[in-house]
């Protein structure tokens, strides 16, 4: 690697087009906004312990282009490092591990700026260093770690509201845990496209009603061509009105009524043609189940509406201002702002375009109403309309991760997992990976603990597991690893951690909540909120 490094003259990419080209394959996942978030991110890695999993994680963040990273690590490169850490070779022996790794990682992407501590061989006082450092977007630390270092990181995280990720890889096991500084809202959750269709068939607005009525006023005498080209939205709106007339003003919202309504619509299709039916009516029938529904508040959004702002950061955040405006909108209108998209359907192009513009216009109007509410609220003048638009478009899918800080009763989780395992054993489904977490946690500060020490440690805190065979087995495996990392397990774990880190940095997609335990023996992982 050294040869490659010294022969390098990596040019910084200029201009949007070169950069776009380099990041093309990922821009298609998180768009320019996600990329911008990555590029302005400043990541700290406290690389403790064997040190591979942290560097592998950082590698997966440097490649897609994080702006800055810093490695804190006072270890000196030894032979042990060479075989397990891809970013160190023989020329690094005796040098600072932090510096060597930072320089080699930097080589991966000239767009990223790397730094390291300590600058000279000496033990670090992490608390002191952190105090003198800039704000970090995210801090990652690897275990085992010195207790005082861990305390310093936690203090910093609390003080600056910084998300923390802890990572522990030993032998065939690993886990990582995300600690977010309070409720963490995500607007751009990337739901599946099909789920985002909202036609408002049971809550139509005047323009849509008018358009639909005009198109269907002579529905029975319409030419076959016109009849066969009515968009299914219009067909459904028309027959929903008819249905209401015959059903005491009620919409078909229950399963049975929906079935009857489907039958009614399908019977209205003309069959005097070679196909024996009409495509647009078929589309209408198959859209009934998904689209004939009352506007409903998703539980995730309800959590957002019910959330009590707990600190100044939240008070002044544009997200919460928009959320409040959104709640007002919902209370006033009985539904959320219209997302405005219209799926493809059989129709004449001109009619489809008109219908599309009716949906778009309504979406704009709704978004404007929300924006006005935001603007008139204290501090809401500077909120970006694009942010309001995004919120309106994704309203049903907005997600509050880590909504409540409380409710993590570890003892209860232990019992729950134990109960699940009893059931799992009976039906042959996978067992809990919590014992792995327990065993790894017991070596958070002492990598060379023996199996007995690990067991004693666990049982000391959780006497209930004293006779749990799997806790014993996990302890033995962790002891066998002796704090050593397997490159392959650490590389894989580094991939998973970086994936979640990217979600947190870009505020796109939903990160796991909050602990992922990996078992390399069964190639399996489990996510638990611990």
């Amino acid at each position: 690697m050294t040869e490659i490094v010294t022969s390098q003259t990596p040019p910084i990419l200029h201009g949007p087009s070169e950069k776009e080209k380099k990041y093309d394959r990922q821009l298609r996942l998180w768009a320019a906004s996600g990329q911008a978030a990555l590029e302005s991110a400043n990541i700290l890695l406290v690389n403790s312990g064997a040190g591979t999993v942290g560097v592998e994680t950082l590698k997966n963040l440097v490649l897609p282009g994080i702006g800055k990273f810093t490695i804190v690590d006072d270890a000196i490169v030894s032979e042990t490092d060479l075989g397990v850490n891809f970013f160190l070779d023989e020329s690094c022996l005796g040098k600072l591990r932090s510096q060597c790794c930072a320089e080699l990682l930097q080589e991966l992407n000239p767009d990223a700026q790397g730094d390291w501590y300590p600058k000279e061989k000496a033990s670090v006082n992490l608390g002191q260093i952190l105090d003198s450092m800039p704000m970090y977007t995210l801090i990652m630390y690897t275990l085992p770690i010195r207790p005082e270092d861990l305390a310093a990181i936690k203090t910093y995280g609390r003080k600056h509201q910084t998300p923390l990720i802890s990572i522990h890889s030993a032998g065939f096991y690993s886990y990582f845990q995300i600690n977010l500084p309070g409720a963490f809202p995500i607007v751009d959750t990337h739901p599946e496209v099909e789920k985002t269709v909202d036609l408002r068939l049971l809550h139509p607005w005047p323009e849509l009603v008018k358009f639909s009525q005009e198109m269907t006023k002579d529905i029975d005498s319409a030419s076959d061509h016109d009849h066969g080209h009515l968009p299914y939205v219009v067909i459904l709106l028309h027959y929903l009105e008819k249905w209401k007339e015959g059903n005491g003003g009620e919409y078909p919202t229950e399963y049975k009524a929906k079935m009857a309504f489907r039958k009614m619509v399908s019977e209205m299709a003309r069959t005097n043609n070679p196909e024996g039916g009409e495509e647009n009516f078929q589309e209408a029938v198959s859209a009934v189940n998904r689209n004939v529904k009352k506007p409903q508040l998703e539980q995730s959004l309800e959590e957002v509406f019910d959330h009590k702002l707990s600190n100044e950061v939240e008070m002044s955040s544009s997200f919460w201002m928009i959320a409040r405006a959104m709640k007002k909108f919902y209370q006033k209108n009985g539904c959320l702002p219209l997302p405005g998209g219209l799926p493809d359907m059989k129709a004449q192009s001109s009619v489809y375009v008109k219908l599309q513009s009716i949906y778009k216009a309504k979406a704009r109007k709704d978004a404007l109403e929300v924006l006005e509410t935001v603007r008139s609220s204290p501090g809401g003048k500077d909120v970006d309309p694009a942010e309001v638009d995004m919120f309106c478009k994704n309203a049903s899918f907005v997600k509050l991760v880590n909504a409540t800080a409380e409710g993590r009763d570890f003892k209860q989780i232990l019992q729950q997992e134990k109960q699940n395992d009893e059931l799992a054993e009976a039906i042959g489904t996978p067992l809990s990976l919590l014992p792995i977490y327990l065993a790894l946690s017991a070596t958070s500060h002492k990598p060379l603990a023996s199996a007995d020490e690990i067991k004693a440690d666990i049982v000391g805190i959780w006497p209930d597991v004293a006779d749990d065979m799997r806790v014993m087995q996990s302890s033995e495996e962790v002891a066998r690893a002796g704090g050593g990392e397997l490159h392959n397990i650490s590389a894989l774990t580094g991939g998973m951690v970086a994936q979640e880190a990217i979600k947190i940095i870009t505020k796109q997609y939903i990160p796991i909540d909050n602990t992922c335990i990996f078992d390399g023996i069964s190639s399996r992982c489990q996510v638990l909120r611990l």
Binding site: T2, Q8, P10, G15, E20, K21, K22, Y23, R25, L27, R28, L29, G49, K59, N60, L63, P64, S78, E79, T80, D81, G83, V84, F172, Q348, A426, G428, T429, P430, S432, L433, I436, L448, R470, Q473, E477, R480, A481, G482, G484, L486, H487, N488, I489, L492, G494, G495, M496, A498, Q499, Y509, I512, D513, F518, D519, G520, S522, S523, C525, V527
Partner: protein
């Protein structure tokens, strides 16, 4: 079924090649990187002999040095594998650098295989790395060669090569670890002949093609206009001829008149081609495709009864509004260009492509047909051309215009690719390889990355069994030693297949990769030499039993030149008393033999769509019993692209790619 513990006892630990696994913080180390005695012993005390001898002695093949490949090579080297061969025909592109970390800016356009070897070699001098900058389908990589490997890893990005390696590994009976990624999704699968399902046991999604008339006469979506620009217009002007694979001809008969008209249109366009490079060319082309052809279409009144009729455009009026395009303008990928801007870009790209064409003609000096310019999503000239032409056509037909960024994705069938997914998938591949090394196929897993399942992230499943009707793996394979100088088809069929293999007087059909050479109605080829039929060293010949009863499974013969004289028979007899026991086909479903390897990429995992009911039930029951079973993603696409970049559904560079809509 007895309950399995999620954590097996130590003896069940996957084999771990300890010699190079540095496990300890405080371990004993030597300069040659046999590390960490203390932990090595503890981890592998179970079977130190096995791990100490096997991984360093294993010779593995990695096909593909792209996204998964870079990560995999690093993991293999640091897991102590003794010898790693890399095959990749590709060179490094700028868009690889966001994840293929063995490559740097200065390596662009260099061989992936060679650069990857250089970069990784430093990290474990004890691993022998051999790089082949070549196509895995080359004749040099024959069955014999494949047989030399302990394990083969597929880190590929296209269906064609995946299928080829799958077939070769089955023929050579070498275990294959197959993997793929798409964005956050990924999959790893262990393929072992006769034990687990092969790559072709599940039908792969074929790319979507469009009826000719939709593309040429009645487009209604942006993709129709993009396909028109890429597969028709670009090829007619700068390529060889129409890109046929993008078109579905099944409806041609219904539209015979229109098809005939379209042929005339294309002929007229080819004439304009002669004026490429002249000053008049842009207008000639424009008048033809955006005016004359549209006017003709518009005159077909029947066509526009239920559609909005297209509006022909006037070059002169539009040209006046067209701005000057400069570098800065062209760099904005996300903007949707106005009609006049599209014309400006079209003319600008025509200018660039015409100059390039002139260069190509100059280079060939009229000695041969100059090479065609074909669409490449990473070639801005062809991309600009297709984007602008498609947008102008969209405008004419009242279809939404798209930004170049979007058009690139649609035309290039780009599938997102990131470092994180590759890291996870490559790590899983190596974990599976430990089990394969130990021969523990029953412990192997087929693992899916399930980014949507936030409670799980990874979904390991017990490996599927081979599909008894699979045309690729549920066949009987045999090597035949032949004197290629003399052997005829008669020698092979009547002398060998019927007499030696026990077909007797069965009805049978025999085909090569080019097609059927013999069946009950086609016996003319019998006196011909095998060579005359294109059969040579390493050819595959498929023998299909056409009897309804007691039907043999298909037999695939690999032809090898005999090294000893064979006398009059020209084909080496089987050892006495060693007549093969050819398995019989399952009764109800006739096996379909497909010899084609279509030029498409990508694969779909579609367990739920297994057509074989009986088999499917069986699988379901088995899964309920499996202690590791988790919900399988219903449809998981793991597609990867042919060259250059990781993931795509269609092989564009080959020029025969059909078009896929990923919807």
């Amino acid at each position: 079924m007895p309950v399995k513990s999620a954590l097996p006892p130590s003896s069940q630990l996957p084999a771990c090649p300890v010699q190079h696994l540095p496990l300890g913080l405080s371990s004993v180390q030597t300069n040659d990187r046999t590390h960490s005695r203390r932990n090595m012993d503890s981890f592998t005390s179970v079977e130190p002999d096995f791990v100490l001898t096997h991984a360093p002695q294993a010779k593995v093949l990695m096909v593909g040095a792209g996204g998964i490949g870079c990560e995999l090579l690093k993991n293999l080297v640091l897991s102590g594998y003794g010898e790693v061969h890399i095959v990749d025909l590709d060179t490094i592109d700028l868009s690889n650098l966001n994840r293929q970390f063995l490559f740097r800016y200065e390596h662009i356009k260099k061989s992936k295989a060679l650069v990857a070897k250089e970069a990784a070699q430093v990290f474990n001098p004890n691993t022998t790395i051999v790089a082949h900058h070549a196509n895995i389908k080359d004749a040099q990589f024959n069955i014999e060669w494949f047989r030399g490997f302990t394990i083969v890893f597929n880190a590929l990005d296209n269906l064609d090569a995946r299928r080829h390696v799958n077939k070769m590994c089955l023929a050579a009976d070498v275990p294959l670890i197959e993997s793929g990624t798409t964005g956050f999704n990924g999959q790893v699968q262990v393929i072992k002949k006769g034990v687990t399902a092969c790559y072709d046991c599940t039908t792969k999604e074929t790319p979507k093609s469009f009826p000719v008339c939709t593309i040429r006469s009645t487009p209604s979506q942006p993709i129709h206009c993009i396909v028109w620009g890429k597969s028709y217009l670009l090829n007619e002007i700068f390529g060889v001829s129409e890109d046929e694979s993008a078109f579905d001809h099944s409806e041609d008969a219904d539209n015979a008149n229109e098809i005939a008209e379209l042929k005339k249109e294309a002929d007229a366009l080819r004439k304009i081609r002669d004026s490429v490079g002249t000053e008049e060319f842009p207008q000639l082309l424009f008048d033809k495709v955006f005016n004359a052809d549209i006017t003709r279409l518009r005159s077909m009144e029947d066509m526009w009864k239920s559609r909005t009729a297209p509006e022909p455009l006037e070059y002169k009026t539009l040209k006046e509004e067209a701005p000057v395009v400069d570098e800065a303008f062209l760099q904005n990928d996300q903007k949707v260009w106005s009609l006049a801007e599209n014309l400006a870009v079209l003319n600008d790209s025509l200018d660039r492509l015409s100059k390039r064409k002139a260069e190509l003609i100059k280079e060939t000096k009229g000695n041969s047909e100059p090479p065609a310019i074909t669409f490449d999503k990473d070639d801005p000239d062809t991309l600009d051309f297709v984007a602008a032409a498609a947008n102008i056509r969209s405008y004419i037909f009242g279809i939404e215009k798209k930004s170049r960024f979007d058009i690139k994705q649609m035309a290039g069938n780009i599938i997102p690719a990131i470092a994180t997914t590759n890291a996870i998938v490559a790590g899983l591949c190596v974990l599976e390889s430990f089990k394969v090394l130990k021969g523990e196929y029953e412990k192997a897993k087929e693992v899916f990355l399930t980014p949507a399942g936030l409670q799980r992230l990874l979904a390991p499943d017990r490996p599927r069994r081979p599909d008894p009707n699979c045309p690729v793996c549920s066949v009987y394979r045999l090597i035949v030693y032949v004197d290629l100088a003399y052997a005829t088809l008669d020698d092979l069929i009547n002398g060998f297949v019927r007499k030696q293999l026990g077909y007797g007087s069965k009805d049978l059909a025999v085909s090569t990769e080019a097609g059927v050479v013999y069946d009950s109605e086609e016996e003319d080829n019998l006196p011909k030499k095998l060579r005359e039929l294109g059969i040579g060293q390493d050819s595959f010949i498929t023998v299909v039993d056409e009897d309804d009863d007691d039907t043999f499974v298909n037999v695939i013969l690999s032809i090898h030149q005999a090294t000893e004289p064979l006398g009059d028979k020209h084909i080496k007899d089987l050892e006495p008393d060693k007549a093969p026991e050819i398995p019989r086909k399952p009764k109800k479903v006739p096996a379909v033999e497909s010899v084609v390897a279509s030029q498409t990429n990508g694969k779909t995992h579609a367990l739920d769509e297994d057509p074989n009911d009986g088999n499917n039930k069986d699988l379901k029951r088995a899964r309920q019993d499996d202690s590791e079973i988790v919900r399988l993603p219903k449809r998981l696409k793991t597609t990867t692209q042919s060259r250059g970049d990781d993931v795509v559904i269609v092989d564009d560079e080959s020029g025969t790619g059909a078009i896929v809509i990923d919807d």
